[in-house]
């Protein structure tokens, strides 16, 4: 997994366990986790851009490109949005993973 500043909030173990229980092989697990990672990035970045005033979108993009892991990005977001997005991002991630797991349960 490529680290990004919010990735410590992501817990993929439940999905890995479900996949293993279903007998998915290592390559399948890798591919599935890649799709999930991408979905999380789209949804979380979209959430951040929704909350961040447009005049700061460019600066955020550059900060992200310069060092995606940089925890200082949280401070930047807090300063520009005047709120702590950490909890909301974490809740969003939980919701996304829950939706994905629900999809998987339906497929079983």
């Amino acid at each position: 997994m490529t680290k990004i500043f919010y990735w410590h909030l992501v817990e993929l173990e439940p999905i890995k366990m479900e996949l293993t229980n279903q007998g998915a092989g290592g390559a399948d697990v890798e591919e599935i986790l890649g799709h999930i990672e991408e979905i999380i990035h789209h949804r979380i970045l979209s959430f951040i851009f929704d909350n961040l005033p447009a005049e700061h979108h460019k600066e955020f993009s550059l900060k992200l490109a310069k060092n995606p892991q940089n925890q200082e990005i949280w401070n930047f977001l807090q300063a520009k949005t005047e709120k702590d997005l950490t909890v909301e991002v974490e809740n969003n991630i939980r919701r996304i993973i829950s939706e994905i797991l629900d999809d998987f349960v339906v497929d079983k």
Binding site: E31, L62, L64
Partner: protein, 291 residues
Amino acid sequence: MKKNSIPESVELFKKRLQSKRQQTADDFKNRHPQASNWLLTAGIAVGNIRSSLTKLAASGMIAGSLLTFSPPLTSADLSLTDSAISLIAASDLRDRLAKSIHELLPDKISDLSKSQEQAISVKVREILGIDAKFELEDQRLNHQYGWIGAEQHLMRFPGDSVPDMAPKTGAWGYFALNRNDLNDDLSQKEKYYVAVQTLYLPEWNKEYPALKEWYKYRKVLVINPNSGRSVVAVIADAGPANWTGKQFGGSPEVMEYLEYTSGKRKGPVILTFVDDPQNKIKLGPVEKKYD
């Protein structure tokens, strides 16, 4: 039921995820087209963020060294676009300048001490490679740290007409005698100009001819101390009046780059002369360090 040894539920799940991934990427682009472009310019492709971040990490732009890379990387993977590199470099420059200068400034806008001025000059030289002088050839403005307000375009030649143009010429008259005489150099001077309070200089009236010659199109550096955005401009007008509460004026382009175009269209700046006898420093935004 099995298919190629993959449980059907897993295979269906993969297909569903692929579709969901595409859908979320499309949603992102539709919802944030401008942000998608900024990310792309910075080297992050929406739809393939994971791979983009891996490339950025591998190209050495990431400070941390704890990354692991899932897919093997090719040499093509390691290249960033020139525009992404220059945008990141400019952003870095601004961050460094803002941080360095902020530590040196008083809490409120006020006169700077000699030691503060000297420290700022050193930082500007170190970060931008520009010789920023608060005093040059015995000349000194009455303010170095103050409020800049939005000015209009100046008439470049008789009959000139552009949107948002002042009804009169600037302090030095027309930039050119006619449209044909208006070259790139003069156009740039109008584009990136400032107004300073020459009218309040103690010797202004007494030594007007010599001082006018000295100040006419004198190159200055204007710094937004909060963002580190800096722009090189020339002095092309006099003002603003003291009663406005502002000490400097900036052309539409100067104000736009400094990001002082909303609300009251004013903001704090540091303004210095630029010591550039060989005319190496270009007018306009400073987005890279001069050698």
